[in-house]
Symmetry: C2
Subunit: 395 residues, 2 copies
């Protein structure tokens, strides 16, 4: 079939892709705050954007273009260009026109932004800064750092996919996000580049499907930003493609980055997998898994390392799905704390459950016991740092 | 028409009602932990219970009785009797049978519980303790204290309603709740007593309607407990009734207690009213108002006293209702911070908005600008104390 090989380079790992991150004066103290991704040849582009109705200008700008081929993305931090009306759109046009004039090899450039909502784009700074881009640089690390906001670490990954028969292609990616999503500094952004030979429709269908079980299954705080973006660019330079290999790798990359975001959740100390099985159908399982990952009471119990399974049961019940205490079972990793109406918790079991809660990564599994539906969601705890980060952000 | 007069007495304010709260060994250090409400004559009873599917035993027990008249409620703190299966029901029967044997004047007693989920009721302690009830006591203060869990103050209110022509009736109430709702120590409970002459159907219809704009419009943490209960008992002793007066007073009492719960929200420092107008319809306005009152990012911005209107706009957009940045307007009290696509925020406006955010009580008003729908919800901020209370509760 095919084999997966982890490689360096992030969004520059695939052939023909270039990227860099530089400081143009948006962040303090010289931190990188502006990045580009450039492909030397034209790309098929697929994308998924936020469901937030207050869609930021970069997304509205992208959508106005309809379906198109392109080879360049400009990304800035510190300003979301959201709630900025038609001025937000013309600001983007102005920036991209200036960049295109300076770099005529650019075709159909797009822009992506993350930062504070409701402030006009500092376009003069961005234009001036972008004049210093060196399109021959392949620094996927710098690019992944430039798009960070409250992220405490940069997020990137790349694989080479080796097919039977000797052909291979590469997929690389970078992402930012530490609230899922923090509208104030807005956004999860994910950029994926590949040299696979794949058409837009195939790629779009795959990315739609993969988003459901990866980024949309992960939550730090249950908020959806104005700027959420997943963008994938394919320049076909490898001349290779394999449907299952491409989709499997894409999903693995997106799941890895989604979990990285949750792990880097603002103030989070734990990455918890919520596995729901036995629901009436997959859709009810999803409702339940997301209710668990978003419950304040569950999240604070995680932070307190308290094996308080009553909060889990109550949240399942409050989620509105078909369920009954007589059919529900709950596990913390392998430790069953409640089974079909039986109160298992006692002085022997509690320390076992408490030991699981002390781990940085574990699974809470709820079997609803009424059907075959399943879904897995990912969440984190909520501690003092989250409050601190979000109460004091703007000031 | 009629006049409202605030009176003392809580659930004992209405004629023929008795109540008390005593210590029976469930809370530490002699704190009151068990209460009763008793009417010397039979009552019509209306009720609204949690929508949580993991319904606690007291509620299932109540529902099994069907429609009935009764005159006694026993309430315990520290144990929710939830997730306890059929044993939870038989525990209640055992407790109530013992109490009824001791006090034969009791008719159709019911029980209400609040506390930890998933632990069998300490029925021996409760039976032993209840033997010490003095049904001739009228201590509405003690009763309201006995039902507290993480509440920092007891919540009660009573009015005498004086009708034209000299007749009058009384309505009194007590409530507990400081998470809306905290499933771990479960629950909002509200008990209302009246000597008005009102039939069950009328009262039930009114309480259903009033719950929608009061308790169901208030949120501390967006969770719905296994035990949420509003119970109203009418013994008709005043011989008086006036439809509009009764309903108006009932709604005022329920709104007061709902706001008291939010004001006492775990760790809360602010009570914020979210007024949504101009939505497509009332139901969309409700979705939006509740999305605002439950948003972690809005709640932490409140705690940080940060006039971060971008989070408000983003939460409106993420709520899924019909909306557009070109028609949205946002006020903090009287200060308009965003008007139909216009970025009003500047160095003069920001301190005015910040001053509103520093108040303990204020209104955030969003006009969606697409229709006539409106709804008002109530919420609080989320600060370090919430995390502390909920992370460390059981331990």
């Amino acid at each position: 079939m095919y084999t997966l090989h982890s490689i360096d380079g992030g969004v520059c790992a695939a052939h023909g892709f270039y990227a860099d991150g530089i400081h143009i004066g948006l962040k303090k103290e010289g931190a990188k705050d502006c990045a580009f991704i450039y492909s030397e040849t034209s790309c098929e582009i697929a994308s998924v954007f936020t469901t937030n109705k207050m869609t930021a200008a970069p997304i509205r700008h992208f959508r106005q273009k309809g379906k198109f081929k392109g080879n360049f993305v400009l990304i800035n931090a510190k300003n979301a260009n959201a709630m900025t009306g038609s001025a937000g759109i013309s600001d983007i046009d102005e920036v991209l026109n200036a960049v295109n004039t300076k770099f005529p090899q650019i075709e159909n450039p797009v822009m992506s932004s993350t930062g504070v909502i409701g402030v006009r784009l500092p376009k003069a700074k961005i234009i001036e800064g972008a004049m210093n881009f060196d399109l021959s640089r392949r620094d996927g690390i710098a690019a992944s750092e430039a798009i960070m906001t409250t992220d405490t670490f940069a997020k990137r990954i790349a694989f080479e996919v080796r097919l039977d028969g000797g052909k291979s292609f590469r997929i690389g990616a970078m992402a930012k996000g530490a609230g899922m999503i923090n509208p104030a500094m807005a956004t999860m952004l994910c950029f994926i580049t590949t040299d696979a030979e794949v058409d837009q429709e195939t790629m779009q269908a795959m990315v739609n499907e993969c988003v459901h079980t990866t980024f949309n299954a992960a939550s730090v705080d249950g908020d959806t930003s104005t700027n959420d973006t997943v963008l994938i660019m394919a320049n076909a330079q490898s001349g290779a493609f394999h449907r299952a290999a491409f989709k499997g790798t894409l999903e693995a990359i997106m799941l890895f980055l989604a979990k990285e975001m949750v792990r880097d959740g603002e103030g989070a100390t734990k990455l918890v997998t919520y596995k729901v099985t036995g629901a009436k159908d997959n859709s009810e399982a999803e409702v339940c898994a997301k209710a668990l990952s978003n419950s304040l009471l569950v999240k604070t119990a995680l932070f307190g390392q308290d094996p308080n399974w009553g909060r889990i049961a109550s949240t399942v019940g409050a989620s509105g799905i078909a369920c009954d205490e007589a059919t529900l079972s709950i596990w913390f990793d392998e430790v069953c704390v409640y089974q079909k109406g039986e109160l298992l918790f006692n002085e022997e079991l509690e320390p076992l459950a408490a030991a699981v809660m002390k781990k940085n990564t574990f699974t809470i599994h709820c079997d609803i016991g009424v059907g075959e539906g399943s879904f897995t969601a990912y969440g984190c705890d909520l501690g003092h740092e989250y409050v601190k980060i979000n109460a004091d952000y703007r000031t």
